[in-house]
Amino acid sequence: MLLEKVEEISGENLYACYQCGRCTAGCPMTGEMDLMPNQVILAILRNDERVLNAKTPWVCAQCYQCGVRCPKNVDIAKIMEALREIKLRSNVNYIDLKKINRSYPQIAIVATMRKFTG
């Protein structure tokens, strides 16, 4: 089941979430997201596998704002990582590394490799 997988990889207790929405309020990337961070948690709790095809985890920049502002100490960044990992571990890369423009700083390129390829 999706929920168990996410809990196993993230180490987070999703049932701690009470849907206050502070993660979403603080997230700088919501403008690019199809599901808001709190909705992602709800979808996982419902074992709704459609969340695996959402754009949201791939837009998350691991800035940890959601987690530090969560009154229930849920580290949402870890949940986003778990969703990316589930996808990447099924041997699907999110981007084609060959197409990366190498003029970007190394920190951006290495981060992209780590977050978007398995």
Binding site: E8, I9, S10, G11, P28, M29, G31, E32, W58, V59, A61, Q62, C63, Y64, Q65, G67, V68, D75, A77, K78, E81, A82, E85, Y94, I95, I100, N101, Y104, P105, Q106, I107, A108, I109, V110, A111, T112, R114, K115, F116
Partner: protein, 272 residues
């Protein structure tokens, strides 16, 4: 005082001016940054998957190697490297974690070397910094911390919602630090590669917010924040006619400027 210094890949390429300025600025206040004899890429972003050990190996190896070179502190200037190395250090403080990772490497025990960000070294040096200033800055600056110096909470170099180190530094250098709400907000980070437009939008909001709060320039310690803010201003101009570019500085460049060093600001900042 001599401290071990971990540069990371970007300070040797895209952000050379940051390193060059740091060497001079820290020297001026009596701190010698001694580059490690041996270092590797830290991995840039810390893996948040509980079972992903492999992505942590490079950072941990860097920490243990610095310890082997005989240092108690490992100073990092790049914010992203700091975040990754510091989280790795937190990870191996737990012995069971270190035991797990040792199956993959031969390095010795963890004896407690502390990863520090360059700004942390300045915390108790403000009086010395004030005395070293020859040309007070005068202008108004927005200190831009971004994410990786302050979050997660366990590795924050200062209060994660209301940090003050960089503001104190700006004031010590004779500048005025403006108060603004986006100082700890993410610039979009590595999305610059996969989703450039989103970063352009972030950059617009961050710079405009700094400006509306009175800033004439932005100061940072993160080479990726610097790159994104610098690079995307051209794109912002296309979307928002009338947008005026804002100069960017690494905090070490500001130190040098106030210390009246002979440091050349580098190509990126030739009076924009």
């Amino acid at each position: 005082m001599e401290v071990a210094y971990y540069p990371g890949c970007t300070l040797k390429t895209h952000a050379k001016e940051f390193e060059k300025a740091a060497m001079e600025a820290y020297k001026a206040i009596g701190i010698e940054l001694k580059e490690l004899d041996k270092w590797y890429c830290c991995g840039t972003v810390y893996s948040l998957a509980k079972d992903n050990i492999m992505y942590k190996v490079a950072s941990i190896r860097n920490i243990l190697n610095a310890q082997k070179e005989g240092f108690d502190y490992l100073v990092v200037l790049c914010s992203m490297c700091y975040n990754t190395l510091k989280q790795a250090q937190e990870f191996i403080k737990d012995e069971s974690n270190l035991a797990r990772i040792k199956a993959f490497m031969d390095e010795e025990e963890y004896k407690g070397i502390e990863v520090l960000h360059g700004l942390e070294l300045l915390k108790d040096k403000m009086e010395e910094i004030k005395k070293t200033v020859k040309k007070p800055l005068g202008k108004k600056y927005a200190a831009y911390y971004g994410c990786t110096l302050l979050r997660p909470k366990s590795i924050a170099i200062d209060s994660y919602e209301k940090p003050a180190i960089m503001e104190n530094l700006i004031e010590a250098l004779g500048g005025i630090a403006v108060e603004w709400p986006l100082k700890n907000e993410c610039c979009g980070s590595y999305n610059i590669i996969t989703n450039r437009e989103a970063v352009v939008e972030r950059v617009y909001h961050i710079i405009e917010n700094a400006r509306r709060n009175g800033a004439e320039a932005i100061v940072t310690s993160c080479p990726l924040c610097y790159f994104n803010l610098k690079e995307c201003q051209k794109d912002v101009k296309k979307h928002y006619p009338g947008f005026e570019e804002m100069p960017l500085y690494y905090y070490t460049e500001l130190m040098n400027e106030a210390f009246d060093g002979k440091f050349d600001k580098g190509e990126n900042n030739k009076e924009s």
